[in-house]
């Protein structure tokens, strides 16, 4: 799921950079593009989680307490990153940053926190592997 998120965000980022290079920020409306990006991402996330929950793990892939421990710590680290990014966004809002930058900072924060969560889980998993 996070792989799809990163790929979709890369596409979004490329389009936004292209828009920024071709016209002034004040003239850009990123709302339609954000809706087109976030809508399918939300639907994909729901479908993905549904299938992950429904399809039973097979073979040696059943989860145990170590997996849950790694998952919990990874989510906590990702949550910390998200909280930090949210506070940064609040400061940006207080500095009366234009909505284009604010919206894109928030979107980037969401993607970044997901990446941090994944990297943290991998790191915790390796650290607890032996």
């Amino acid at each position: 799921m996070r792989g799809i998120l990163v790929v979709v965000y890369d596409w979004y980022f490329a389009v936004i950079i292209d828009m920024v290079q071709s016209s002034p920020i004040a003239d850009i409306s990123c709302r339609p593009l954000m809706l087109v990006t976030m809508g399918p991402l939300g639907v994909l996330a729901v479908i993905g989680h549904f299938f992950l929950a429904v399809i039973p793990p097979h073979g040696d892939h059943k989860s145990d307490e170590r997996d849950r421990h790694v998952d919990l710590k990874g989510e906590w680290t990702g949550g910390f990153a998200l909280g930090t990014a949210a506070v940064t966004s609040v400061f940006l809002a207080m500095a009366e940053t234009e909505s284009f930058r604010l919206a894109n900072t928030l979107f980037a924060d969401l993607v970044l926190s997901e990446i941090v969560t994944s990297v943290a889980k991998l790191a915790y998993f390796r650290r607890m592997a032996w």
Binding site: D60, K62, D64, E65, R66, R127, M128, A129, W130
Partner: protein, 52 residues
């Protein structure tokens, strides 16, 4: 007893048994289960390294 068999009897994967033999600190529940499988007191299976 193999790692896989121990893991099976206490409800964890073989990888987790390997991790417990290394640096992973298991939950108290798993600690009790392991001691129960070997029918020995906890401190015969696990020791906490003293820093004093």
């Amino acid at each position: 007893m193999t790692q896989a068999a121990l893991g099976e009897s206490i409800g964890v994967t073989r990888q987790t048994v390997i991790a417990i033999e290394g640096r992973y600190a298991p939950s108290l529940e798993v600690v009790f289960k392991i001691a129960g499988v070997f029918q020995v007191p906890l401190d015969e299976v696990f020791q906490f390294p003293s820093e004093v």
